[in-house]
């Protein structure tokens, strides 16, 4: 099934913009200033065709939100961009960062080149202390501890605590803090509010908002409230393909559309 068919698939709303594999068309919308272009990205894992030709762009400022139901492949998209497709899988297509093809380059090189990544399940190193976790993430001689500790004072208070014993919210802060230490061209952040108490969700959202003023962000987020607060552009993935792209507000303003695309109640979080 091609992207074209997908857009007119029965049962799909025709209210929003339909997806298209033609990246250039999208470039107009974002004023031509796209930082990252994903074109026809396909991922197969263990024989499953998980992404089937995904194309979208990330603007060079603000937050671009990647939306979709559980298991459609949002995390897989972020991971494929970063070259983290598992060994029993393969990614094809094109990913360009500032015009340069980056698909297939080793992850560490991409991160060094300025792609900061906050993974879905936080992945703090449980056996290391908070300070050690941060130290490990340093990529420059002048890591911006002021910014990180300013955003998350908790982290400086708990510098000697083992990361494994932090609460989920604190771990999330640490995970964010690790990328914010370094200058980045683009942040890839996967569900930063997952499993967090509402109060912490608010804090994280605020932190993201501030971070996004300096660095563009590609964000995967299920919590529509957070999306509402942050989103510039939105990209919706369904059944392995891009089902909708457009300004986030437009998507959220239309509950029927939201519900049909995301199968989550627009009122709620998850």
């Amino acid at each position: 099934m091609t992207a074209g068919e997908r857009a007119t698939a029965p049962g799909k709303p025709n209210t929003g913009r339909t997806a298209t594999a033609d990246a250039a068309q999208d470039a107009d919308r974002t004023g031509g200033s796209s930082l990252l272009r994903v074109a026809d990205l396909s991922v197969r894992i263990a024989g499953l065709h998980i992404l089937q030709g995904v194309s979208f762009e990330v603007a060079s400022s603000g937050v671009t939100v990647l939306l979709g139901r559980n298991g459609v492949g949002k995390s897989t998209t972020l991971r494929a961009i970063l070259g983290l497709t598992p060994r029993n899988g393969a990614a094809t297509g094109s990913v360009r960062l500032g015009g340069e093809e980056i698909l297939g380059r080793p992850t560490h090189a991409l991160v060094k080149a300025g792609l900061g990544f906050v993974p879905e399940d936080r992945c703090v190193f449980a056996g290391l202390t908070v300070a050690e976790n941060l130290r490990l993430a340093e990529r420059t001689d002048t890591p911006d501890y002021d910014l990180v500790f300013g955003l998350f004072p908790e982290l400086s208070k708990r510098a000697k605590q083992r990361a494994g014993s932090l609460s989920g919210g604190q771990q999330q802060m640490l995970s964010l803090g690790r990328v914010l230490l370094n200058p980045n061209k683009l942040l890839l952040i996967d569900e930063p509010t997952k499993g967090l108490a509402p109060k912490v969700v608010t804090e994280v959202a605020e932190a993201l908002e501030r971070a996004a003023q300096a660095v563009p962000v590609l964000l995967v987020e299920q919590n529509l409230a957070v999306v509402r607060r942050l989103a510039g552009d939105a990209v919706v993935i369904a059944a392995g393909q891009v089902a909708w792209t457009g300004p986030g507000e437009r998507l959220l303003a239309d509950p029927a559309l939201t519900k049909s695309l995301l199968a989550v109640n627009a009122a709620g979080g998850h």
Binding site: R69, N223, V264, N265, G269
Partner: protein, 277 residues
């Protein structure tokens, strides 16, 4: 609604065999009960003093944010993890110390959040293995498995129920995601369990297939008075199927009540559904 589930609009017409909410009463004997069930890793309580009752024929939905401990709760009930404290009771008997297969023999069946089928066996072999497991797990080494007629027939029945009849010869590892989920349900069916634990059966199932799968699950439970504990993030599916809803948060049970009451519960609103912002 993107994938209208048949019967959404007529929720009260839930099958009669399912006494439903009326059985939520405390005096009815529970088929499955947990008593202050706790699982700790280090100092962290992943499951924290959960006490639940599942009544005969009841469909209990479990919701909660990611990482709330739902899957962990299932792991404790099905015996894949050893509890730190508390008890699990099945049909009134304490099964806390039993091995997973013993619990399964007593009628406890489960699916996994991430599809778990035997990838190197064919679809049919998968189900036959499950049927055979249910039929007492004979240790015969010599007789060809294929000669067990009833096993084969029962396996084909199960496959037909979930609509995989035509895929019997495919290697399970090569199935599409939704098909794997169906196969898992067929595996579950084969065991003829009296209590089902379903961990996000809809995850990864394409929208078009959701109604079909909902029907399969409804069939599973409707005929036999089976009781079900199901984790699901699709609220509409939960609301469609569940008699009661349990809400988990940070390992603890936040609420356990009728769908309406749960949806109206302020704490639940805040912790799970709620507007943090």
């Amino acid at each position: 609604m993107d994938h209208p589930v048949p019967g959404t609009t007529e929720a009260p017409s839930a099958p009669q065999q399912r006494p439903g909410r009326s059985l939520g009463s405390p005096e009815a004997p529970a088929v499955l009960a947990t008593d202050a069930l706790t699982w700790r890793i280090g100092e962290v309580a992943i499951v924290d003093g959960v006490s639940l009752q599942l009544h005969p024929g009841e469909f209990l939905g479990v919701i909660g944010p990611n990482g709330a401990g739902k899957t962990s709760l299932f792991n404790l009930i099905s015996g894949l993890r050893a509890v730190t404290a508390g008890r699990v009771l099945l049909h009134g008997a304490d099964i806390t110390a039993l091995a997973p297969h013993r619990r399964a023999q007593r009628g406890l069946g489960r699916t996994f959040q991430s599809s778990s089928v035997f990838g190197s066996l064919s679809v049919r072999e998968n189900v036959r293995l499950a049927v055979q497991a249910h039929r007492g797990g004979s240790m015969a080494l010599w007789r060809r498995a294929a000669t067990y007629r009833e096993v084969a027939e029962r396996a084909d029945e199960c496959l037909a129920v979930v609509g995989l009849g035509a895929r019997g010869d495919a290697l399970a590892g090569t199935l599409a995601h939704g098909e794997k989920r169906k196969l898992e349900i067929a595996l579950l069916l084969a065991g003829e369990p009296s209590v089902l634990l379903l961990d996000e059966p809809m995850a990864g199932v394409s929208a078009e297939d959701v109604p079909e799968l909902v029907e399969v699950i409804r069939d599973l439970t409707a005929h036999s008075g089976r009781s079900v504990l199901m984790v699901e993030h699709h609220m509409d599916v939960i609301l469609e199927l569940a008699d009661r809803i349990a809400v988990m948060h940070h390992g603890a049970l936040l609420a356990c009540d009728t769908p309406d009451a749960v949806m109206a519960n302020a704490t639940v609103q805040e912790a799970y559904l709620g507007e943090g912002l």
